[in-house]
Symmetry: C2
């Protein structure tokens, strides 16, 4: 892969506005080409995703103008392409649908408000440096969420494929709505949809092979194939217009698109509405940022660069606020477009600005031609796009590796399908954190004994070691925090009091990097309880910084005669008298 | 301290019903004495705490009958004394106050419903073995919560002390209400309150010293002094009756107490009310269980025993359901009463049953004498009791040990005082968990080098070691979970790409006990990204069980040529060529 000359020092992040200040003429070609290729992808995608959000398709185009330009101000990623994306569009449909009927002006107003609210949320998160919160979603949960959302998106488009009324925010309600309007299936619409899908698949597969067979590189062929959706838009619109499919057969089309650019205006202030939408806006912001940051990160890594999550938040925040001021709806960095942007040669966020300008041209000059664009073809574009989101590889791997994590994946996906996307992401977060807390609250602890002839001490259950029945050596393999102190206390009490004749118990802290205030108090209570029952608590192998803290807190004096040994061996030599073999069972 | 003969095998838990089956005649004396002493404490306390809950005082007595008996069925603690307690009573006042005006029949109905709901919550938690969730509250947060709640309780009683109307669920509203009724202060009530407090303090201090001076043991003297509140009740009632303080000076009194026992009846089913109260019931259940479990645990430890948290949950659940069926309100194990119960010689939960029977006697025969009991004296009892809850020692220690944990203590206490108890406990939980997630998401990582002449490798920032500029050795001192994989990734990328000339990076996993699915994927992505930039990722010192998992997941093949070494030294010998000194700065 070619090294990009002039890139900022390896390992450093793209400096703010640096891309503008450090602009070199050799970047221009790459940026223009990438900008054009992405615009070609963006026109059909933006319209299709706006339709997915139950909005007029041209709103997707509006949302592709200001946002990439606003994002470019803070961008810490070279090639992130900001605009409408599938999953966020699904969430917009779901959230806006709770306050307004799809297809109405109120619905659009709600979507605009969502853009404003989520933009503000993102901006605030960026300013307060909350970028790190998205790491609290485990990969299995994310995988389950995305796959289930993709399935939901697919089913949501069936109504456009069949030409019927649809509805519903989750699988049961969607299927119910489809079943109820089964009698109204429009065969012409269905035919159009199937033909659209066929065309897209043909171009992705056989046509691409044809191009490479003709001598084009795989990269160039890949980029040319990205024009497929736009080709479909043109052909489908032409077919509908020439054959009069909308008038004669009732094929549903986009209809008259307002000419020209959207006006720039502050969205209407409507506090009750905003309060209703706030929670949904927060979820949209989080999911959008998650998707965007992950693709920005992998692209940056290709150049040995890293992104700045807090700048990304601010950039996306401004992008969404910009969308709300220009009649758009919530946007974020899109995976497929950003990868194409990068592959096509984008060197700076100027590529995104160029895409935006090309969309402006479309709105100024080409909108009349969109009037005959059938919804069925837009649905086909969505269907083919989301197939790529369905991830069956990850679940298989996770099933092999960890059953409990597989369960979180399946549960998250299940909640998305059965209840809806917002419930799904919330369930996923709770599951991720719940499983994590459960695991870390039960630290691994091992009773150890001496490997004969050495100064090493190992787990009595795994090695042949010698122990002393009077001196119990217990190693804990985790930091001591409040979530695990009670477990620690319980296990130690069980070990010490459950075995007769124990006079000393040594807690080996070689793996302990941190002891918090709750654990400190637990240690003192244990020392006291043990002392009351004739057992002395000692510590061993306490790390330097931890020891400093313990001394500062006066723990050594609280140990009721217990000592703190530098090594386990030293403890054994000081306290132990007899020893016996322990053969692991 | 005398060894209790016949106690279950050291380290084992009190078997279910075992206390009944294994009952020995020599327990009876201790149980009866303890039961009587606790009843003596309980009569005034229960009435005072019911008043704190804005309920008629006799409701506290009702809540002291069935609960201890129901608890005894599941008890895993010998000496836990179940009944009304201060903090739970405060929470009942606060929660019930959101649905009904204090002092009305609806308010009492809400309190009864709360007992039912929290009882069911506790029972379900016990059945689903959710006892462990209470360990997710850090000690600093608990300390801040209890101290602030105690202060709030104190202020809530000022209206009884001053003889005015009061109100409010937090400090600002309480002070405001007091200020508004400042003109109505009743000097006789105030005098009575001051006198009551003086009597209690006199008995606790000088009188106790008198008793010990007369030759009684400190333990016996301590128990006798516990009768102080009951003595106050008798004297104060007599004073009010004889001097006609209620009629002549408007001193507020308990008034006519229904004679006899409460009826046993299922509480009215009122689903809308229950839905409103559910969240408060959950919080009351959690706080109640926390307090109860902590005192049960420390008492059990004195006998080298441990409690079973899930049985405790079921016992307390039944106790609260029993309270709701007998006109009572939410109860739990009380700290002071349980300690007294233990010290007075309780051997089994029969002591609690005996206390309950004595309360029955009071209700059957002594209620007419309670009519002249002034609220001011009950308030004095509460004030003196909660002073003991205020904990200034812990904050000082935590300030020394950890500023961030001190901040959680102060913040929790602040929220309790300024907003209210429920908000306070929720804030405390969020703070505890938030701080924990923050800490564990930034694991300690160290670049290490070789201690010359040895096979040991230590942190380059703390030791004089030798390193090889081509081979970067990084040790991570934490398990690899999803909350910290991005930090790990970020740090590693920064270290590898920030330093020129790195060809190999070895991740030393000696402290890693667990690698979850998200971390596994991160390692594979890192291996790929590094390989793309000419750096090979290796692992070293991977623990046995972890290695098994990695092999099962096929990670070794994903390392793009990286190896997994048994020791850091082996890695260095295989990969390193040159080495140079690094002097720590």
């Amino acid at each position: 892969m070619e090294v990009r000359s002039g890139s900022s020092k390896a390992g450093h992040r793209l400096p703010l506005f640096g891309w503008l200040r450090g602009y070199r003429s050799e970047y221009f070609a790459g940026d223009v080409i990438a900008g054009a290729v992405v615009a070609v992808m963006l026109v059909p995608q933006a319209m299709a995703y706006a339709m997915l959000a139950n909005l007029p398709p041209h709103v997707g185009l509006y949302a592709s103008i200001i946002p990439p330009i606003a994002y470019a101000l803070f961008a810490s990623s070279r090639a992130l392409a900001v605009g409408p994306v599938a999953i966020v569009s699904l969430m917009v449909a779901s959230v806006a649908g709770t306050v307004a009927v799809p297809g109405t002006a109120e619905h659009l107003g709600a979507a605009v408000a969502l853009a404003l609210l989520s933009g503000v949320v993102l901006l605030v998160m960026g300013m307060v440096r909350l970028g790190f919160v998205t790491q609290f979603l485990s990969h299995p949960v994310l995988s389950g969420f995305i796959t289930a959302a993709a399935i939901l998106i697919g089913f949501s488009q069936l109504r456009h494929v069949l030409g019927v009324e649809g509805g519903g925010n989750n699988l049961p309600t969607m299927l119910w709505a489809l079943a109820q309007s089964a009698a109204d299936i429009n065969p012409v619409t269905l035919l159009l949809a199937v033909g659209s899908v066929a065309l897209l698949l043909l171009m992705q597969g056989p046509f691409k092979r044809l191009l490479t067979g003709l001598g084009l590189s795989a990269a160039i062929a890949g980029l040319m194939v990205k024009t497929a959706p736009l080709v479909l838009v043109v052909l489908a619109s032409a077919a509908v217009a020439l054959l009069g499919l909308d008038q004669r057969y009732g094929v549903s089309v986009v209809g008259a698109v307002p000419e020209g650019l959207p006006g720039i205006a502050m969205p209407a202030v409507d506090l009750p509405l905003w309060r209703e939408l706030l929670w949904g806006a927060i979820l949209i912001a989080l999911v959008g940022f998650l998707e965007s940051a992950s693709v920005a990160k992998s692209l940056a890594a290709k150049d040995r660069e890293r992104i700045d999550p807090d700048r990304e938040l601010k950039g996306l925040g401004l992008a969404n606020i910009g969308a709300s001021f220009s009649g758009g709806y919530p946007v974020t960095g899109g995976i497929s477009r950003s990868v194409v942007n990068y592959t096509a040669g984008a060197r700076t966020p100027l590529a995104g600005v160029i895409s935006a300008l090309l969309i402006v041209l479309v709105l100024l000059f080409f909108t009349p031609w969109l009037a005959w664009l059938p919804h069925a073809s837009l649905a086909a574009i969505i269907l083919v796009a989301v197939v790529g989101l369905v991830d069956l590889h990850t679940p298989r791997r996770i099933w092999e590796y960890s059953r409990s994590e597989f369960l979180t994946l399946v549960t998250t996906g299940g909640v998305v399908l059965l209840v809806g996307v917002e419930a799904g992401i919330v369930a996923g977060v709770l599951l991720s954190l719940g499983l994590y807390l459960w695991r870390t609250s039960r630290p691994h602890m091992a009773v150890v004994g001496r490997v004969p002839g050495t100064e090493h001490y190992r787990n009595v259950e795994r090695h042949e070691v010698k122990t002393d029945p009077r001196v119990l050596l217990v190693r804990v393999d985790e930091n001591l925090y409040f979530p695990n102190t009670r477990y620690l206390e319980d296990r130690l009490q069980g070990l010490v009091w459950g075995q007769g004749g124990v006079e000393h118990v040594v807690l080996i802290c070689s793996a302990v990097n941190f002891i918090d205030a709750s654990a400190l108090e637990t240690l003192e209570e244990l020392a006291e309880q043990f002392a009351d029952s004739g057992v002395t608590l000692h510590l061993a192998e306490v790390k330097g910084p931890v020891m400093d803290g313990l001394v500062r807190a006066g723990l050594p004096e609280q140990l009721r005669g217990g000592q703190i040994f530098l090594s386990t061996h030293q403890a054994m030599e000081t306290l132990g008298t007899r020893s016996r073999w322990v053969i692991p069972t």
